[in-house]
């Protein structure tokens, strides 16, 4: 499983596929401030990315992989800033 949830913190690890977009969305729909940790994330599907952008979690920890971080973080940060 690429999604691991510890209380209000969602860990996305390894390669996150399109199937995980719905569970992720459902988790994020629950009330409260969510934290998303992408540190161990190695790749994520566009569907996951847009759920993250739309849900604007309270905090996102960038992926450890700099290439991936460079790819997704600017977008996620602008989406968060717009919130």
């Amino acid at each position: 499983m690429a999604i691991r949830i510890v209380r209000k913190t969602i860990h996305l690890e390894g390669h996150c596929t399109v199937e995980e977009a719905l569970p992720l969305l459902e988790t994020l729909r629950r009330p409260g401030a969510h934290k998303v940790v992408l540190t161990k994330c190695e790749g994520l599907h566009t569907a996951i990315l847009q759920v993250l952008a739309a849900a604007r979690p309270a905090a996102i920890t960038p992926p450890a992989d700099p290439a991936l971080a460079g790819l997704v973080m600017p977008f996620l940060e602008t989406s968060g800033a717009a919130a």
């Binding site: 719905l22 599907h45 566009t46 952008a53 739309a54 997704v72 977008f75 989406s79």
Partner: protein, 873 residues
Amino acid sequence: MTTPLLARFIPEARELLQVSASGLLKLERNPTDETAINEVFRAVHTIKGSSGLFDALALTRLVHAAEDLLGEVRSDALQIDSALVDMLLDSLDQVGQWIDELERRAALPADADGVAHRMAALLRQRLGSQDGAVDDAPVHAALRGADPAPDGDVSALPPGLLARLPAPACLAAFRRACEGETVHLVRYAPEPGCFFSGTDPLQAIRQVPDALALDIAAAEPWAPLEDLDPYQCNLHLALLTAAPRPEIEQAMRYELDRITIAPIRPRDLVRIEGEASDGPIWDDFRGAASGFLAAGRLDDLRKAVSALRSVAGPTLWRRQALDWLEAALSAGQPDPALLAALVAAAGSGRLDPVPAGPAPVAPAPAPQATDPRQELARSVLASQHRALEHAGYDADRLASVGTVVGNVLLSLGRDADRAAIQAAFEAAREAHSVAPLLSALSAVLAGAPLLRAEAAPALSEAPAQAFAEAAVPAAGGKEPEGRIAAKSLKVDQAKIDLLMNLIGELVVSKNALPFLAKRAEETYASREMSREIKEQYAVIDRLAQEMQGAIMQVRMLPVSEIFDRFPRLVRDLARKLGKRIDLALEGEDTAADKTIIEALGDPLLHIVRNSLDHGIEAPEERRAAGKSATARILLKARQEADSVVIEVQDNGRGIDPARIRSAAITKGVIGQEEADRLSDQEAINLIYRPGFSTAPEVSDLSGRGVGMDVVLTTVEKLGGQVTVSSRLGEGTTTRLALPLSMAVTRIMIVEAAGSLYGVPMDMIVETVRVPRERIRMIKKAETFVLRETIIPLSRLSRLLHLPEQPRGEADAAVLVCHVNGRRAGLIIDNFREGMDVILKPLEGVLTGIGGYAGTTLLGDGRVLLVLDLRELL
């Protein structure tokens, strides 16, 4: 690496392409022909389906676009016209080229993706212009909404997008652009439902090599979380890349219709932000830098820039301007205008839009053309106007123009204009002139509302459809029903040839049995044995003949193999020459040996081209001569006894014997005296002489004086004959007669000077025994009179330089032969039996010996020389 599957696909696809092309031509003549459209649609659909098995996405994509268009035509949503047929034929040609490429290298050329995309887009544009509802219109609209520049060659980067890209990435892209590389902006608007087809847009765009910066943005504002559908893609991506266009297209080949690729000017990448600052140091720099720039001292400028960069704080706006300036300066050949702008920016603290320098060529769309359909419609109408003006009056062309214009106006909802145009068409048709139509079209183009009263002098309006049907002559020509039955076995030709040779050997060895029977009777005095051998021989003989017949059938091909390429060829040539030609095919099912069929292609091509170029008159000339403007060429095949006869008939101007005579004299083909002696028919036959041509200039069609000569030699090499008959002003008929099969030759064995020789049966007219006293000498030549015709005689033994043995018989055996268009008698010693043989050409050191067509084996093992009378007589 050619897989068996691919090896099977290639010939199949070629066949299907041929079917579609001929179907399209049929459709062009008769747009309502349902059988034709279904045939074309099926063929194209099959190509699309099978091509999906191979790594030929571009091919599939293009065929798919063609299929969509044909689907519309099939469901009557779109009317077919010449322009559409042209487009489809071009697409099919492209596919044909790719098939060739697939066969050679098992892969498509590198540019295939782009070519397919562009051609498919053109096809889809047609689809769009018709009903206005393009599949992906929302996407394009979205792209345009965000960015008013037209897609295709965007050269300006939209400011909103630029601001979102990280500055260092822009700087890196700028550096590369300054060095002369082309930086492309790829904008990608994935289909909302793309996740379901397994597309991951992020992953897809990451495949583009040399990526410099990626921007992701929500296409629509995000829905509230409760309503968000995570499986609807709501992202637009934009990528700056230094990769060349083909590589981008290759990487994004599955999504080509969702992306736009545009080169970006370096100037548009410049993005400076930071705190404002002021101070004398900047003013000093400005003065010095401008001086260096004006003097072209770039090295000094570089030094000044790096000196100032080391002092100024990195967050300052002006310091960042210096970074860009430094990047621009680092290029091998910096762009002076760009440098000047940056120097000014660093000096003044703000970036002015670049002046005229690198040309801000924002191709402003024409203000009135807010609707892209308007623009398209305008260009279509204008091109039809041009075509009409150029071609003059011609009922068929008029009909197709009518269809196009009607469609365009219909799609724009301009019913009033449409009615006016239709009335104008009627008027034009009545008047046999394009003038009313041209004026109506120009009026529509000028945007003036059209009043029907002006354009149509008192004529009822008929629907464009009915009018088109009336103008198009009822498409003639029956179509054979059973052409779909392609349930056949594909066998390598070499295997058939082997079988053929073996059967040939069998036939030859079978011929040994009668000799054996004779020996049994004569040497062993066993009449019983001899009879039994003869009985067995009869059975084997029958079987061998049946086998031979069967294998011939295998090698037989219908002449449609060669006929099928003519409709396209005639259409294209006719359009090029501005002639109207109706091509009719008859007897396409007539079959002949593969070798014959294949060898016939070129001669027929020459004949048909000749008819088109010389025979058929221009429409005006035809009308002046009281003929219909549309000429007719008939290709007719039939079987006559042991030969297949192909006729090419045209109803053109015919061959003028007088003109041929004078042309032959000027070209030095014959002399004046000879020309006067020739009958009209003989004069016409002169067109087969090498070097003969009546065309004053060499055109790319004919006139080189080799055409008909080639026809004659090719056909004669195959053992056939060519005859031309022509009536001045009424047309010309060229008749080719060829043997059905070439594998087995029927010969007659003759005796001369004590040896046996074979003479091909098709040259022998008859055999006669002539009493000695009837042979007369005319000067030194022997002749005799056969049914009131003088036949020159020659002696075979003399022709072969063999010693003559006087035989003292009361009459001479004479073989009357038809050679080189005349009759000649050949005196031989005796006639022997006829025989089917496989002729083997003379090989090795014997190749050069003239007078012999080849050799064959006799039943008793002797070698028989077969004579070539054409060379001997």
